[in-house]
Each structure stands twice: as structure tokens, then as C-alpha cells.
Symmetry: C2
Subunit: 628 residues, 2 copies
């Protein structure tokens, strides 16, 4: 079907006012044309989000750690199935509300430039190539494989050069040179456009070299001209009003609206485009500009099958939501997302040990879910996963609050001693610490006050440090499970603990997956998608967007754990047959996934290819490493 | 052993300053006498509280609904075992911190005079006799049965005439006549002193007829003189400072301290007794008064075995905490605490139905725990209990926030539609609504703003009412599970729902217990320990402490569900052989507990006896009803 032509025809029947209305994210119905109201805003970062029950996969940063883009594509397929099932039911109400549509404002493919950025865990880490591979797999899975219809729309965000500080985002000007712009900040956008043809791109809040991202002729020329993007462009929510209110590039909201529309921002999340009428009357924007945008938008809705009867995705039912297959897939992704950073041999546990599970993240639901999340109807906390899998006694003690010395509602409870006693009664301690999504997140969402969502440093909170001391003093072997979406300084843990495991925000199956790793039902195969620095003092100023001294590609210091690092329970040898072909031999005694990474100096270290292979103990597998 | 004599001897060796120190709840060590520091403050309302992991039994109001004081005594025995086990370990640190000692400031035997009182769910309801029976069973279980040593100390609170408003409690004057004072407010205190010899009594914040409870010659004469109480008296926390700060009965903190000490308040929770030294220097308090109090306190510590080696309770180990036996006991108590208020025959479910579980309380951990609670290392939400027990598909939808139309962090999610869709896909809806402990509780603890912990009316929150409408409109049969610690107006639910079940705050095993009831593994046997009114408009002003027009004894209107009401899955006949002896026949087809109540007009309706009997289907059991 020629959706472009149908869109043109449909839009040609609209009045100017009707067209302007369609450029708002909460587009009204046009009953005389058979167009129902539609709310474009939906989210699916790691599962259908904010729309009730859904399979909640590991947070994006954890999925990146799997280095398994095939698995990622399966996850995205599951997500788009669930989104479709929900849409198919929601549309029976005659319209859609927020978080009920098919236009998904995911993935977040910004580069995790600095570990202090609160939203970094929404991304695929610090490497442009890994981000491109994971992002394009995600886009393909969301958009589906039907030759005619798209299953859902993926939206690359935030275009561009967006990575904090959260507190300044509405008026921030990111200054970058052309090298960093192309080699770091835009690289994954280009990769995803080339490899996965995303339906949409979302503009960021900030300016880049002085131009507001949602009204930037420079960025739009790169996107549509150089990169060949031919989808629609949506503003981040409220970003167009930022142009006059915070960037001070326009004198009024109608000027902002006109600037964005003229630059090619087709859809407005926020309320700026109610001023398009005024802008039009002032002669700031032409009907041609508006028509062009609305044609793109209606083409998208047509391509999603919203106006047709024969769309094959209409038959997806709610049975897919949290189906046994999706739950199994979730557990597999969670297993592959965990990164073993140290192991003196204590892992995997033999079974039968008396185990103390200690720490504020042990029985937390929040850490499973991350942000931009749905609601699982069943979830397994880290504690519960260990309890279910352990054949020995499990002694649980929360030990302390996540970050408060005196928590509200605790009425002065001092929980350190209970944790010490639990450790003393046990053979081994599993210490579940770190952050949660209220401590690193988006401006307005996160509750860490000082940082507006960002972290002020890489340290564990003070009360956790006290608890850590107390537990180490017991002399019991400690398996440190670090839960966070970003680098935490683990210098002391690396010295003092028997094992260190990074598990990000592992999704609804997090507890099962952790237990699978701890008890050796699965060998860890995740690799760090970000550098684990020793201290934030080793980094340039957070507001500095130069890549100098940042990420494994440009950092000159000695990281605690480098990008790409991750241990296994077995051992592998790699025998390269040519530049792309490798024989991987599992020389240990446990079947396992193995992650093959190719990092070259070009002239700085650069990931140029990776693949993930399943190799049984004692066997050899030949793999062709994907490089483009 | 003569603990009184030993206490006298020990105290005789103390300086005046040392003695004054011992009257503070955080009593310092006296190393030269071998007395370690001791923090008297511990809580155990329905399980060891605020001291980490513990078996969390149903909230007190739910246990009262069981009308099973034998089971209550078993529960209290389990609690005191867990408290002892913890103390035995904590004391290895050489002292105790808050919530680590053996002196438990439970039970709360205030009369639940008005359903708006936020702390009402800590009590055993509105009836003095039920409260006395339940309270004395609880005290016996806490204090144990050793002829020499006490296992833990129980503390009756709050003496006296204390039941809100929370926001005024520090300066409130409760005015009561002698009839209400004796027949309602003091009755359970007398009963427990007569039947269970509690170690301690806690004085309330408020005044009674002008005298501050922690410094009231009138109340103390009743307590020690008339009722024969011979234990120690502890102030509520901060209550002694209230005497000068809010009651304005004293001009300075030293005057407050002297008033309390002279009245016989032996122990001070708060910081008022640091002023005892000043009071002594001013001649406001004598050394004899201080010596008398400290002798009582040291006698208590001696009787708890703190200074002896041979105390049999020293051998209780941490294995008892959340032991399989305690968990089974918890589930049984939770089953017996649930009250079936309406059933058109839909319950028990046949099994195999597709079930929608909807509502903000369905997957809530908070509602399991109530307040003054410990932390279970494993818990089963209502949703999870249903999921585990159901053989049919379970469709979960949260549906709305507990009380906020737009909740923080929801980012505008509108969850009603998902709930409607879940209902439509199902054969039956289990709607889990009501309150949680943040909406009814203590001043400072509860977050319902307007009420300082109290409820402003008996209504469900507005957003829940919207959700309720939407679900009813689907026409699906609804089983309404009301979660609350107090009466909620269920007029519409009684008309429109297929079944109504009151489950209070059901403890860590709440989900299992609910599923046992819903799927017919157990027949409901709980009875309401409070009247369920139709509206707060039917009640006198909340600040009015006259019993006129309150509770089943004096309410003249027509309640929706009366005190003592509760349905079963089977049917019973009672054949009274004499005033105390009854033949109970189970005329139905399901084994079940049956609650026998004797309510007499004396001249107003009064509960004078009750018992709980297990009767198999078709069988007859003869029971002697306990009446004193």
C-alpha cells in the first residue's frame, strides 16, 4: 500500500486548524474523516511502561551488558507484542489515552558520557558501536517484520548530545566539536537509521552549540540530509516551550512553535503547538510546513494499521502479556545482564551453606524495575530468589536504609546489629547494596535532592558504608552484589570481598536470575558497557561535553574495571582464523555463553565488533563476528 | 528467688544520681555494680517490631476478630520466644539499643471508641470484655509460665481514656463520667491486671478530667489501689514534657518530672527525667520516691533474669524467628481474623475461574504489615496468594493509587482502563481496596495530612470510588476484599457486590490466608470486633468521650454490620444446656471454627462471654463458654 499517498489524500481533506491539532501529542479526533483521537505518548524502554501489567525486562543498561543483540531483538519483539495486545484492547474505548498507543518513545540511545548522569541507566552505555547495535536490534524488534505494516513505532532519543546535568537540561547548551559530535554523540543515531529504519526521532531539551535541538536547522540537516532519516520528529515533553522560556532563543511561545515547526519538528509533546495558530497568523509559519508534518504523522498512523482492517497485528491478544515465554526470555536476559567482576573461587556456591542475605537492596522491588517501567504481576526480589534456590538456611537482615541514617517510619530502629548477628550465624554473606532508581534518574523523578536525579559522586551512601564496615569486620566471606545503573566506586569491595557481582536493575525475574548465577545454574557472561572508575575525581567536569578523558576510548587513567570486563565460571580460548572469524574453545567444565569483543586502536581504543556464542564445556565453536 | 529483696539491696548501693539515671528509658550502665546499660523501649504489638526480621502476625484488630484468645496466647508465646532469641543475641554486644530489650510496650488495650481514630487498629476493638480477654491472653503469652522468671514484660497501654484525636493528643483533656470511665475505659485494664498480672502499665499523653495521665494521683490510686497493680509505670514517649509544654499544668520541666515521679511514674520515655536532679535540688521530689521507682525497675530487670545465669529463657536461639511453626501459626491466625460480611453463594470459589485481581491493595506489602511491625523475610501479598492458589488464569490490574488521583512517579498513568479490561476478560473480580497504615495511624507516622493519622470520615478514597464504579459497570460478579484496620462505609458494596470480606491488616501470611478462605480451604470464622457504621454522620463528635451513641453497646442507629457479625461457609445451631454450656452442631457440609457469643442486655447490650470451637461437618461439640 502506498501510505504516503493515502496520507497526502487524508491530510488534503483537513482544514488548517485540524492539521495543527494533529501536531499535538494528544491529537483530537476528526470524526468527519473517521480519525479517532490518538495520544502519541507511550513508553517501552525495557518493557511496556506505565500501562499496567507487563513483562518488565532488565533496565536498558543491563541488557546492554549482555552484549547479545539477538537476544535484545527477541526482547523487543516480546515488548512490541505486549504493546500491540494492549493497544488492541484499549482502542475498544474509541480512542487512546497516554501510554495506550503504538508509538513508543524508546530506545534511549544517548551516550553514557559520565557516570554521574542520572538517566544513564536508560542507555546502552558509553560506547557508540555497542549502542548502535543494541539500539538497532531494539528498533527492529519493536517495529516488526511485516512487509506492509509496522507493529509499533520506535523512537530514537534524545537527539542529540544529551546526557545531563538533569537540573540544567531545559536551558543547557552542550558544546561539542565536530569529531565528538560525529564519532560519539551522533554515531548510534546514524547506525540505527542505517540498520533499522526507525519510525521516529525525539529531539532533546538542550541546545547543541547554541541551537535548540527541537528547532535546529543544523541537526535536522544532518538527520534528514546526511543520515537519510525519513520518519517523523517529536519534541521531548515541554522542550519547545524551553526555547523561549529557558534557552531565550525566542521571544514568545508562538515564536518557539514556529521555529520548531519550520525546522521540521512534526509532533509536539507539551503545549507549545497550541500557539501554531498565532504563529500562522503572524506569518511565522506556512501552511506548507504544517501540511508536511501532518502528512508524516498520518503516514505513520496509516502504516501502523490504525485505519485498516487487515493489519495482521490486530490479532495479538492479551495472552501474550507476561506469557510463560516472555517470563523465560526475561530470566535469560537477566542472567546474561549480570557481570561478575571478582571471584576468588567462592562462586558458584556449593549449595547447603548457611547464607546471610544483607542489605537494603536485597528485598527491594524498586531495584528490579528501574525507571520507565511497567508493573509485573509477579516478581522475585534478590532475597526471594536466593531463598527459593538455597538448600541451606537463609538469614535475612536489611541492615540499613538505602541512604538515610534515620529513615522516616523507622522510629529510630538501628538495624546494623541485626545484620552483624546474621553474618556471624552464617557461612557466607551476600551483601546487596548500591542505589535504586530514586537515587539516579530523571529531573523531577529522582529523589536524591542534591543532584536533581544525577549522582554527586560515585560513592555508596554513608549508611551503607557503615554497614559494609560492620559486615567486613565479622571476617565472613562476602559476595558483594552491586545494584546500580551506573558505575559505583568498588575499590574496597574489590580488595576485601570474596566476589563482586554487578547486577544493574535486573527486571521482574532478577531474583531468579541472580540465584541462577550464584548457585551455578548459569555462568555469568555479561560484560561492562561502561567503565568502572575508581572515583569521580578522575573525571572531567560533568558539564564538559568534550570526550577528552572520558570512557574507555579516551580515559587516560587506570579504571577499576574496564569497559568490556566480565568474568566467567569457565575459561575460554579464542583462536582467530581471520579478521572476522574466531574459534572459541570452552576449556573449563561448565557450559557457558562467551562474549567475543574486538577492540582496536583507531588510534584510540574502539569497539569494532562483538558476538555472543554458546559453547559447551570442552567444545569449540566457530563464530563470525559481526562488525558493521 | 526474692527479687524484691535483691532489688532493694542493689538499689541501696546506688548513689542518688545513679538512681535517677535508671529512671530514664535509656538507662546507663553502672559498671561498679555490674549493671549493663539497658534500653527499655521495645515493641511487639503483633510480632517483634522494629528489630528486623520477625514473624509479622495480623494487626491487633484482626487478631481480635478471631475471637480466639487461646490462639492469641499461642501467638504471644511465639512473639516472646522471638523477642527472647533476639535479646539473647543482642546482649552479646554488652548493652541493648532501642528495640533490643525484653520490656515490650504492648498490648494496646485502649477502647476503639470511634472508627476515625487512626490508631484504632492497634487495639482489640470497641468492646471492653473482648479487649480484656484478648489483652490478658496476650500478656500471659508474652510473660511466659516460668515460676521464677518472666520471659518478657508486657505493658498495658495507654492508661487511660486514650483514643484520639491524634493531632491533639499532647494537650488533650478527655472528659468522662465515672460510669464510662469504669465500664468502658478502665475495664480491660482491670481485667488484664486480674487475669494476667502485667509487668507494666504505660501512661497516656492526654489528661483525664484535668489530670495528666503520667502524673495523675486519681488514676494512680485506681491502678495501684483499687486494681492492685504492683508493677512499674512508664510514661508514653515525651508525655512528661507535655505536662508543662502542652497541658500547662507545670511551669517547668523539673516540675513536670517531679509531678510524674511523685505520682508513681517510674520510668520516663523521653527526656523529662534528666530534670529530676533539678527537681530534687528544689525540694520537689524526695529520694524515697526515687528509690521506690528504681526498686520497681530493678526488680523487673532481675525478674527477667538479666543478672542471673540460670534463666531458662537464655537458651532460646534465633532458630525460633520465623520458624516453620510460627509461620503456620501466623497463617492460622490470619485465616481466623478474616470476616465474611456478605456472600451470595459465590464463595468459596469453585476453582478454575478466570479471576481478575484488581485494586491498590492487591499487591501491597504495607497492608500486610500494619504499624508497629517487624520485617518478614518472606511475605505473601493478597495477589500472590491468589496466584499461587488459583488453577485458573489470574489477570492483575492495580487500577488506581491508594488515594492519589495523580500519584508522584506515575507520570500521568491512567490505570482505570486496564482494570476494566481485566474485569471484562474474567469470570469474577476480586477487588482489593480500602486503606493502608499510612492512611490511618499515629500522629507523625501517618501521611493522610488532614487527619494527623486519624480518618476524616469512613469513605473510601475518591480514586478508589471511581475505580469501583468502573468495575461494577462491567457487570462482572465482584468479591470485595476490604483491607482496613477500622470501619469503612461499605453500603454500596453490600448492595452491589457478590461477596464482601473484611481482612484488616493480615500479616505476612495474609495472601495465603485470603486464598485459603476464597478457595474454601478454610471456612471464615472471624467476627467484627467493631461496629461497621454506614457513615461518620451517624456518630457523635470525635472529641466527645461520652460513650453515648457509640459502639454496639450504646449506638441507637442501624449499623451496616453489627459488632460480632460474621458469616461462615457452613451453618451451625446452638443448643444451650445452661447459662454457660452450649451444644454446637455443624449442620452444613464443611468443617469449620464457630464463634459462640453471649451478648446480654445489662441493660445495654454487653458481651459477657465467648468461645471458639472447631466442629466437623455433621458433628456436635459441647462447649463451656468462658465468661470471666
Amino acid at each position: 500500500m502506498d501510505f504516503k499517498k493515502r496520507a497526502k489524500e487524508l491530510v488534503s481533506k483537513m482544514t488548517l486548524e485540524e492539521k495543527m491539532g494533529q501536531m499535538k501529542y494528544n491529537a483530537p479526533a476528526i470524526p468527519r474523516l473517521g480519525i479517532p483521537a490518538y495520544n502519541w505518548w507511550n513508553e517501552a524502554l525495557h518493557g511496556v511502561a506505565r500501562s499496567g501489567t507487563a513483562t518488565v525486562f532488565p533496565q536498558a543498561i543491563g541488557m546492554a551488558a549482555s552484549f547479545n543483540d539477538q537476544l535484545m531483538e527477541e526482547v523487543a519483539t516480546a515488548i512490541s507484542d505486549e504493546a500491540r495486545a494492549k493497544y488492541n484492547e484499549y482502542k475498544t474505548f474509541g480512542d487512546t489515552q497516554i501510554y495506550q498507543g503504538l508509538t513508543l518513545w524508546s530506545p534511549n540511545i544517548n551516550i553514557f558520557r559520565d557516570p554521574r548522569w542520572g538517566r544513564g541507566h536508560e542507555t546502552y552505555g558509553e560506547d557508540p558501536y555497542l549502542t548502535g547495535r543494541m539500539g538497532s536490534a531494539f528498533v527492529r524488534g519493536l517495529q516488526g517484520y511485516d512487509p506492509v505494516y509496522r507493529k509499533t513505532d520506535a523512537t530514537l532519543k534524545h537527539f542529540a548530545v544529551h546526557s545531563g546535568p538533569e537540573g540544567l537540561r531545559h536551558g543547557f547548551n552542550a558544546e561539542v566539536d565536530q569529531k565528538d559530535l560525529y564519532e560519539t554523540y551522533l554515531s548510534a543515531f546514524r547506525y540505527c537509521i542505517d540498520h533499522a529504519h526507525p519510525a521516529a526521532v525525539m529531539g532533546a531539551y538542550n541546545r547543541v552549540n547554541g541551537e535548540a535541538c527541537c528547532a535546529s536547522p543544523t541537526l535536522m540537516e544532518i538527520l534528514r540530509g546526511e543520515f537519510g532519516f525519513d520518519g517523523y520528529y517529536v519534541s521531548d515533553c515541554g522542550a519547545i516551550r524551553d526555547i523561549d522560556m529557558f534557552h531565550k532563543l525566542a521571544a514568545s511561545p508562538d515564536e518557539s512553535a514556529a521555529m520548531a515547526a519550520n525546522a521540521g519538528c512534526d509532533l509536539n509533546c507539551g503545549d507549545a503547538y497550541v500557539y501554531l495558530q498565532v504563529a500562522y497568523e503572524k506569518g511565522l509559519v506556512s501552511e506548507e510546513v504544517i501540511t508536511r508534518s501532518v502528512e508524516r504523522l498520518m503516514e505513520a498512523r496509516l502504516r501502523l494499521g490504525m485505519f485498516d482492517d487487515g493489519c495482521p497485528y490486530d490479532s495479538i491478544t492479551m495472552d501474550v502479556v507476561e506469557s510463560p515465554e516472555h517470563i523465560a526470555l526475561n530470566r535469560e536476559m537477566a542472567r546474561q545482564s549480570m557481570v561478575l567482576l571478582k571471584n576468588d573461587g567462592i562462586l558458584p556456591l556449593k549449595g547447603g551453606e548457611t547464607i546471610a542475605v544483607i542489605g537494603p537492596n536485597a528485598d527491594s522491588q524498586s531495584i528490579l524495575l528501574g525507571n520507565y517501567n511497567g508493573t509485573p504481576s509477579q516478581y522475585t526480589t534478590l532475597l526471594r530468589g536466593i531463598q527459593e534456590a538455597s538448600s541451606g538456611k537463609v538469614n535475612y537482615a536489611r541492615g540499613c536504609h538505602l541512604y538515610k541514617d534515620d529513615e522516616p517510619g523507622s522510629c529510630g530502629e538501628h538495624p546494623y546489629r541485626e545484620a552483624v548477628l546474621a553474618a556471624k550465624r552464617s557461612d557466607v554473606v551476600i551483601l546487596c547494596m548500591g542505589l535504586d532508581p530514586t537515587m539516579e534518574g530523571e529531573q523531577g523523578d529522582a529523589f536524591n535532592g542534591d543532584g536533581s536525579g544525577d549522582k554527586v559522586d560515585l560513592e555508596l551512601p554513608a549508611c551503607q558504608k557503615v554497614l559494609y564496615e560492620e559486615i567486613i569486620k565479622t571476617g565472613k566471606p562476602v559476595i558483594f552484589v552491586n545494584v546500580s545503573g551506573s558505575c559505583i566506586s568498588l575499590v574496597r569491595q574489590d580488595e576485601e570481598c570474596a566476589a563482586v557481582l554487578q547486577c544493574f536493575y535486573p527486571g521482574a525475574e532478577g531474583g531468579h536470575a541472580l540465584a541462577d548465577i550464584l548457585f551455578g545454574k548459569a555462568s555469568p557472561s555479561g560484560r561492562l558497557p561502561v567503565t568502572f572508575y575508581r572515583s569521580a575525581d578522575d573525571l572531567p567536569d560533568f558539564t564538559d561535553y568534550s570526550m577528552e578523558g572520558r570512557t574507555y576510548r579516551f580515559f587516560k587513567g587506570s579504571p577499576l574495571y574496564p569497559f568490556g570486563f566480565g568474568l566467567s565460571y569457565t575459561s575460554f580460548t579464542e583462536n582467530w582464523l581471520d579478521d572476522k572469524t574466531v574459534e572459541v574453545t570452552n576449556t573449563g567444565s561448565m557450559d557457558s555463553w562467551h562474549t567475543v569483543l574486538q577492540i582496536r586502536d583507531t588510534p584510540y581504543p574502539t569497539l569494532i565488533g562483538f558476538t555472543k556464542v554458546w559453547v559447551k564445556a570442552g567444545e569449540t565453536v566457530t563464530a563470525v563476528v559481526k562488525q558493521n
